[in-house]
Symmetry: D2
Subunit: 141 residues, 4 copies
């Protein structure tokens, strides 16, 4: 579902917690939030009609993760439905910072916040290049 966050387009993607996501403490293992946030970013781009595959295939660009900051507020559990809201919180030709807030659908409680910074690199060399202007424009809304 498309929305806005601080004037930027945001997307709320719903995910279901799998048993595979949990650990022996009975809660979602901290590493699994990367998965939820990645799906959130991909769906934000899809909703904004960014064709991520064409960046890879036609322009030979990749968007590697270069920095991550995450705060875990409360645990998620097996079979929980979670809403992952994602938006571009900071964007320039040098980097894209996506921020996500993850809430439990049942009661709206904020479980997790994370920011993922992507750079843009030219493949196959992997050398840093500018974020494409059309990508930046769509994410800024």
């Amino acid at each position: 579902m498309l929305g806005t966050h601080e004037g930027r387009p945001s997307y709320t993607h719903r995910v279901r917690v799998g048993y595979v996501d949990t650990d022996a403490a009975g809660v979602v293992h901290h590493s699994q939030y990367f998965r939820y946030l990645e799906h959130g970013r991909v769906e934000l781009m899809r909703a904004l009609e960014v064709d991520y595959l064409s960046f890879e295939r036609e322009r030979s660009l990749a968007l590697p993760v270069v920095e991550v900051r995450m705060k875990y507020r409360a645990p998620a559990r097996f079979d929980d439905l979670l809403d992952v809201e994602t938006w571009l919180s900071e964007g320039s030709r040098a980097k894209l910072v996506f921020t996500s807030k993850l809430r439990r659908v049942a009661d709206g409680v904020l479980l997790h916040e994370g920011s993922i910074t992507l750079a843009c690199v030219q493949m196959p060399k992997g050398s840093i290049c500018s974020v494409p202007a059309d990508l930046l424009a769509k994410l800024r809304g």
Copy 2:
């Protein structure tokens, strides 16, 4: 550690169960055994001086998994040390079947048995080709 199993070279690779490998039932999630078996196969090949990366890079071959059979005998838990013994149980120009037995180091109990069948494909097309004779020879011992 190199050994033999039914006349074939085998390799025993030791792995430590991570917290990330467990699930809410307090045991290793069934999907994680793929990881242990993959490490077991790679270490068997390394011990037999098979240069897997050169297959990929110089000959453009890949060895995709085409079939899996696994039996779960008893659960593994966080921090367990496991010994994964792996050998080529069946090999031809058409396919390679690796079998692994996974035992808990503390008491030698058999926890898991699995067979993974690999085919050989020519990349990037992905068309089926023959398993290289030199690879087969090394795995057969």
Copy 3:
């Protein structure tokens, strides 16, 4: 979406392939199909109004995986939509066998088939017990 397969209730669950699911060969890593099949089973049970959490919480039962058989027909790739159809192919008081067929939505091609056998155990001891009759009845349709 509920349907039937050979007279049994089946459920088709749609999943989107994440980048995290892929490997360096550019395709979905073989270990990830466990994840898709697990979601498929859980959604089949939900559609049949099986309350899996109440088995865990009220009856202290667990349904561990004891056997897996999978065939990989063709690779899935990043961003593919997949339909996972799941049904109880064999069921008794001793075990439940769920079979899944996984097709690419874009062209209906069968990519993967798998059967997962679950036993029923009494927790926390983990001793084998009978599959509850009400669960079996719902899955048999």
Copy 4:
């Protein structure tokens, strides 16, 4: 291997990159570093004779991750050997911050830096409690 970092005990744990850790860009997926860092922390505690399982079992304590910061400097690839050096960079009764530096063994290049903050909670309620003094003392050295 035990060492010291800024006066604190540190531990260097060696890991081998699996094929399962890679993604379609041909490098280790950003989510996998959590796994390496978790193994690094567990091995630091083992080297310092912290019995983590006894915290769980005898004192009903858990150490959930509450914050993560990671910087990705350069990609790791399949079959790379990595050295993960981990130490307690900040510790109090309220929280433990473990910092890790991850270097490629072949050339010593720094690939990744991360800090993981753990809180201490009383199970099964999950209420915040003080970090045990004996744990803190061992980690501080």
